[in-house]
């Protein structure tokens, strides 16, 4: 149902770095699970409307009002890495662009 190459592709889409062991295990397990899903094809659903949520509700909106947030420092401090520069406060991540132009 699903081969190892597809498992690698899905892992990339999900941003998961899998070990060879995990790749192998997931290939078997996902195949079993997808096969289990096959029973749904017994049901004719051509004329059936999909249900996205169980209890019907119209769209809920609110005015987009600016509100000051008091725990700004707490939020910045939750980050694994941060940096403050003259431009402001930032969440810091590893280099995004390659070394060209440096």
């Amino acid at each position: 149902m699903i081969d190892r190459e597809q498992v690698r592709k899905v892992a990339h889409l999900a941003r998961l770095d899998l070990t060879p062991d995990e790749e192998e295990k997931f290939t078997t397990q996902l195949s079993d699970i997808l096969e289990y899903f096959e029973q749904l094809s017994e049901l004719d659903t051509d004329e059936v409307q999909p249900t996205a949520r169980a209890i019907d509700m119209s769209n809920v909106t609110r005015p987009d009002r600016l509100q000051p947030y008091e725990n700004r420092e707490t939020i910045l401090n939750s980050a694994p890495d941060r940096e403050s520069t003259a431009q402001g406060d930032f969440f810091k991540v590893p280099q995004i662009l390659s070394g060209e132009g440096e």
């Binding site: 699903i2 597809q6 498992v7 899905v10 892992a11 990339h12 889409l13 999900a14 941003r15 998961l16 770095d17 899998l18 070990t19 995990e22 997931f26 397990q29 996902l30 079993d32 699970i33 997808l34 289990y36 899903f37 029973q39 749904l40 094809s41 049901l43 659903t45 059936v48 409307q49 999909p50 249900t51 996205a52 949520r53 169980a54 209890i55 509700m57 809920v60 609110r62 725990n71 707490t74 939020i75 939750s78 980050a79 694994p80 890495d81 969440f91 991540v93 590893p94 280099q95 995004i96």
Partner: protein, 487 residues
């Protein structure tokens, strides 16, 4: 073990103080935790502080509500400001929320005393609490066995008397199944009845917060405190919340001519015969109490499991995309580039079950497969919902076993995800239809393990459901049995 009503009486009559009560429970937690491991973190300081405030109110002659001073456990996927909220995942191990969930804020306002944060399956994905990244929780009835899941810590803590009541969350049975395994009462309310603001999202079209307790009255008190509209949750319903506990009166079933339907399809293959017998005996008891009982067919019920295991992982794969190591939580130390940081953070931060579900969900949502899986599942969801609609045109409450089996041994199903998923067979269709349902004790198997009766109500019929459960509970004494570990 005392009920909310009894403890409230003691507090108001000044037979004990809230601080004393809290100390008693904290001591119990300290004694039992080495065996049970229900809590990921015990919040003794916050608990004593909250208890002091209740005592101050009582001393000043102020009126306090029924939950004031009552020790409560909170599942660790509910955000508590300043207190770690980990979802039992390594990826959130160091996460301390900057804000408070609506339900815990409401409980604090009601004077409830939070004893600690309870263990769970990682991100609520599992049926045994074994996927917790940190510890295994034992079933108080047999410590070799699992407490069920995903809210296993809450269920075990209540069963063993480490707290009086607890909160859990239920996406496919995560309150009802552990309630059944641990011999306590657990309820999943109607989708949207309780605000999910501050609940870490798993599958947004299914997740709902609900109460655990040792009696129907206790969960009714807890439910009326946490339910109600919240502008911070756009799926929250604008409805009036009845005073559920005050509606629990004797001899109701006869007066109401309550109509009960037994879901025929749940008594088939895979059902432990002892569980089936206990549930049928409970049905006889309900008949004696005045309910009219008939068999109901829900032919699409059995498609609930595959439908759920497409919808829930699909939504989870989107919800868990936020754990990227940028703004909070765990970050790998081995990253050389941004992409590297994402993939390694997630690889090291998530456990096997969470990865498996992210993989399933990413696959079922990916180009070329969406119609075959996700859309198909949403259509089958409609069919399952229609089954329930037909059923509720004939009866008021549906009954069936909560779980086809009683608590299994730790490690027994960890290598076979499908067999683990099968334990949620009977709870899952309820989430797909957004209905309220509860599990309450209805017997014990030959090994002394609790059996749960599931009662399902129509949309927003929590009152009817609680009344039916109360009538059964008053007529039986299953809920009075306690595990030896708590003695």
């Amino acid at each position: 073990m005392a009920s909310i009503r009894e403890l409230h009486h003691q507090l108001v009559k000044k037979e004990c103080s809230a601080v004393e009560l809290t100390q008693d429970y904290l001591k119990r937690v300290e004694t039992l935790e080495p065996k049970l491991h229900s809590f990921l973190c015990v919040t003794a300081d916050r608990a004593l502080e909250q208890a002091k405030q209740v005592d101050a109110k009582l001393a000043a002659g102020e009126e306090v509500g029924p939950l004031a001073g009552i020790p409560i456990g909170i599942k660790d996927n509910l955000c508590t400001q300043g207190i770690p909220t980990t979802c039992a995942s390594k990826i959130l191990q160091n996460f301390v929320p900057p804000y408070e969930s609506t339900v815990t804020a409401k409980l604090a306002a009601a004077g409830a005393v939070m004893v600690g944060k309870t263990n769970m399956d990682e991100f609520a994905m599992g049926s045994s609490t074994e996927s917790s990244a940190f510890q295994l929780t034992a079933n108080p009835w047999d410590v070799e066995r699992v407490p069920g899941g995903s809210s296993g810590g809450s269920a075990a803590a209540v069963a063993a008397g480490e707290c009086v009541v607890a909160l859990g969350s239920d996406t496919g049975g995560s309150i009802r199944q552990p309630a059944s395994f641990c011999g306590v009462v657990g309820m999943k309310p109607t989708y949207g009845l309780v605000s999910r603001y501050g609940l870490v999202a798993f599958a947004s079209s299914l997740d709902q917060i609900g109460p655990f307790g040792r009696s129907v009255e206790d969960i009714a008190v807890l439910l009326e405190t946490i339910a109600g509209h919240d502008p911070k949750d756009s799926t929250s319903l604008k409805v009036n919340i009845p005073n559920y506990a005050s509606l629990l009166k004797p001899n109701l079933l006869k007066k109401q001519k309550l109509r009960i339907g037994i879901i025929k399809e749940t008594f088939g293959e895979g059902l432990d015969p002892v569980v089936g017998q206990a549930v049928m005996a409970a049905v006889d008891e309900l008949k004696k109490l005045g309910a009219k009982v008939k068999e109901i067919s829900c032919p699409k019920f059995r498609y609930g499991l595959p439908t759920y295991y497409i919808i829930a992982p699909s939504e989870a794969s989107a919800n868990l995309a936020r754990y990227d190591g940028v703004k909070y939580g765990f970050r790998t130390e081995e990253a050389e580039s941004l992409m590297d940081m994402y993939t390694k953070t997630r690889a090291q931060g998530f456990g096997a079950e969470v990865k498996r579900r992210i993989m399933i969900g990413t696959y079922t949502l990916s180009a070329g497969y969406y119609d075959a899986y996700y859309l198909k599942a949403q259509k089958v969801r409609t069919l399952i919902k229609q089954d329930f609609e037909r059923a509720f045109s004939e009866v008021d409450v549906l009954v069936c076993p909560t779980s086809p089996i009683t608590a299994f041994k730790a490690g027994e199903k960890t290598n076979d995800p499908l067999s683990m998923y099968l334990t949620d067979l009977m709870t899952i269709p309820v989430n797909l239809a957004g209905l309220p349902a509860l599990s309450l004790p209805c017997g014990f198997d030959d090994q002394g393990l609790p059996i749960g009766l599931q009662m399902i109500g129509n949309v927003l019929q929590e009152d009817v459901l609680l009344q039916a459960a109360y009538a059964y509970e008053q007529a039986t004494d299953w809920h009075e049995r306690q595990p030896e570990i708590g003695e």
